[in-house]
């Protein structure tokens, strides 16, 4: 028995030793910058980089291993980890116990962190490549003056539709309220994205502080609820592909693969306008290596690197110069780079004031729960159980009393 155990353990250890070695043998692809940038001496500094999951070119299938190339050029190690939502990034930073040097939150989270003074002001003398960032991405409303963030990617929200069942060419968000497609419509399972759709239909701002406008949007969503098959995030993709649903909103960055690989699924950006999102690189206030972090941001903005990175990730780049390094299929795509005319009708999320955010939470809960009626039922059920429980206890006590007499 013990021998087996030792055997098993040593097998595991061997596997662990062998796996990284095996990985290192793989080819780096066509990306060889060693003539231009010689190998640097190790500096002993390790940068902690926190990015979205699957959001960087990692060297698989002949792509550029962005982080390894950075280490090779500068001698700065990169400890690269990932998060799944802006909120978990926020809680990680706010909770303490983890100090990151570079983080990549989205627009509204950046404005929230700015309000809470969590982001350091960048020294743009260390980021000369900021010059490549297109004019329209500078001075965004989430970070006025662009002093704390450098855009990484951007995109818009549109709608998938299945041409087998939807014969017209949709142009408006109102198709998500079309009763003919009842039960085949999907919605985002995330309050701001879901409300944004209703707000565009009503012509309101996404960042309005008017409670009445939020309530009207909630009414519209409640009206839509009976037609909706379900509220999902990434599963929208699968449900569209399998034909389980015919209509569903999605982010442009990931939409292209599905449109290209299938014959019957198309994507459109509604004429009323849409949400425009930016993920940008920032340095938290408590970063240990701010200068190195700025070097990293500068490196990521190098058009060649940004191009190679986005060619793999498949999101839109905020640098026109980087497009030269991205395959034409991507840069020509209207899904990724919609016309300026359409972009004018887009709006970026900004952090909402606490009061509005709380209202949004309640309204969203009402939309998903089906209004105060259903929560009343829930309360009634809980109270019913409580009453039953008390009745049983009282009855038992009485019985015990009677027996003891």
């Amino acid at each position: 028995m013990r021998r087996i155990l030792i055997l098993a353990l040593s097998a595991v250890l061997l596997l662990m030793a062998a796996v990284p070695a095996f990985a290192e043998e793989t080819e780096a692809g066509d990306w060889d910058f060693s003539a231009e940038y010689p190998d640097a001496e190790p500096t002993g500094v390790t940068l902690n980089v926190y990015n979205w999951g699957e959001y960087i070119s990692n060297g698989t299938e002949g792509s550029l291993d962005v982080n390894r190339e950075f280490t090779r050029r500068t001698g700065i190690e990169v400890n690269y980890t990932t998060f799944d939502t802006n909120e978990s990034l926020y809680s990680k930073l706010a909770g303490g116990g983890a100090s990151y040097d570079v983080i990549i939150p989205s627009d509204y989270m950046i404005s929230k962190m700015l309000q809470e003074d969590m982001l350091a002001e960048l020294d743009f003398a260390n980021i000369p490549n900021f010059q490549y960032i297109d004019e329209k991405f500078r001075d965004p409303n989430y970070d006025p003056g662009s002093r704390h963030s450098v855009p990484y990617t951007w995109g818009t929200v549109g709608v998938f539709y299945n041409t087998d069942y939807i014969t017209e060419t949709p142009t408006s968000w109102s198709i998500l309220w079309d009763e003919r497609y009842s039960g085949k419509i999907l919605m985002f399972d995330n309050p701001r994205d879901a409300f944004a759709i209703a707000q565009f239909r009503l012509g309101f701002s996404l960042n309005t502080e008017d409670a009445g406008e939020w309530e009207q949007a909630a009414m519209l969503l409640k009206e839509q609820k009976p037609l909706v098959q379900g509220y999902y995030m990434d599963q929208i993709f699968d449900k569209m592909e399998s034909g389980e649903a015919w209509l569903g909103p999605y982010y442009s960055g990931d939409a292209r693969t599905l449109v290209e690989e299938t014959d019957n699924i198309e994507f459109f950006v509604p004429e009323e306008g849409t949400n425009f999102f930016v993920d940008a690189m920032c340095v938290p206030k408590n970063a240990e290596h701010k200068t190195e972090a700025e070097l990293y941001i500068n490196y990521m903005c190098d058009p060649e690197i940004a191009g190679a990175n986005m060619d793999f990730v498949g999101y839109a780049t905020p640098e026109t110069a980087a497009k030269a390094y991205i395959s034409e299929e991507l840069t020509e795509s209207k899904i990724f780079y919609p016309d300026d005319e359409l972009l004018e009708k887009t709006e970026i999320f900004v952090n909402l004031p606490t009061e509005t955010a709380e209202l949004l939470d309640t309204l969203w809960a009402e939309v998903k729960m089906g209004g105060p009626g259903e929560s009343a039922v829930l309360v009634a059920i809980i109270l019913g159980f409580l009453a039953l429980y008390i009745a049983v206890i009282v009855w038992k006590k009485r019985k015990a009393k009677l027996e003891s007499m």
């Binding site: 155990l5 098993a8 796996v19 990284p20 999951g53 699957e54 990434d234 993709f237 693969t257």
Partner: protein, 270 residues
């Protein structure tokens, strides 16, 4: 009746293994869209990508390292604790058992958050800034401990208490008596505890999530993929892990049954 019971067994196994089967099948899916619903041909591409993807492999390495270290530590500590608890009088033993069982019934999220708070306070006290591998290992040892104690204690109680005394009567020093007499008797419990600790540590998400700092384990890495849809590389990785564990179990079982047979034969000839 026999047919009925067979159908029942088949259904039961189907219920248990169908998800794994689907997972394995889709790890060979030749898809461009990372489809989880449509099978469109056979490919080994995801396996190739898996072994190229250093972030997955790094996360796997972290997970295995933490699992091995914490399982070993938890086993040693847990076995010692079990020996001690077994020697206690009835009342203190009950108190001790309740204390050790508490982390098992405590919701994981409470354990996770409280450990995070403790670690954050402790690291800032010693001037550190980041939680990481060490805090993960300590956290994993902590939640694995009660399982080891619980699997070792019954073996200790089954053991004849006189054996240990007999060994000492025959001139064996206490420490050696423990290793020569007690440990072999309780070995099956120790090993079950260790395997349990190992598997618990590998698939823990909640506690690791809070105590990980800037280190990433495999479950956390997979979870963060959900924004952009989980890559079939994860199917490939799960398949590899499943096959490894299956092979390990088969080897252990074959060995055991062989050993039992040999013992039976020995018993027969005497």
């Amino acid at each position: 009746m026999k047919i009925l019971s067979k159908i029942y067994t088949t259904l039961l196994f189907l219920f248990l293994y169908a998800p794994i089967l689907v997972l394995i099948v889709f790890s060979f899916n030749d898809t461009q869209t990372s489809s989880r619903t449509q099978f469109s041909g056979f490919t080994l591409r995801w396996y190739e990508r898996l072994f190229e993807d250093r972030y997955i492999l790094e996360a796997l390495f972290n997970t295995l390292l933490i699992a091995v270290v914490s399982a070993l530590c938890a086993t040693v500590l847990g076995t010692l604790a079990a020996v001690g608890i077994n020697r206690l009088k009835k009342l203190p033993r009950r108190v001790m058992m309740n204390i050790t069982n508490f982390p098992m019934v405590n919701p994981e999220i409470v354990t996770g958050v409280s450990m995070m708070l403790l670690f954050v306070a402790a690291t800032s006290m010693f001037g550190g800034k980041n939680l990481g591998m060490w805090t993960l290992i300590i956290a994993h040892i902590t939640f694995c401990l009660p399982y080891v104690i619980l699997s070792v204690l019954p073996k200790l109680r089954q053991m004849n208490p006189n054996l240990y005394e007999a060994a000492q009567d025959l001139g064996c020093p206490p420490v050696r008596a423990f290793f020569k007499v007690v440990l072999p008797e309780i070995m099956p419990g120790v090993i079950t505890g260790m395997i349990m600790a190992f598997t618990l540590s590998i698939d823990d998400f909640v506690i690791s999530y809070f105590t990980s700092g800037t280190t990433q384990t495999l479950p956390i890495y997979i979870y963060t993929m959900t924004r952009r849809r989980i890559s079939p590389e994860i199917n490939a990785l799960s398949t590899v892990l499943f096959v490894c564990i299956m092979a390990l179990l088969i080897v252990i079982n074959v060995r055991q049954s062989k050993a039992e047979k040999e013992q039976n034969e020995k018993g027969g000839t005497e």
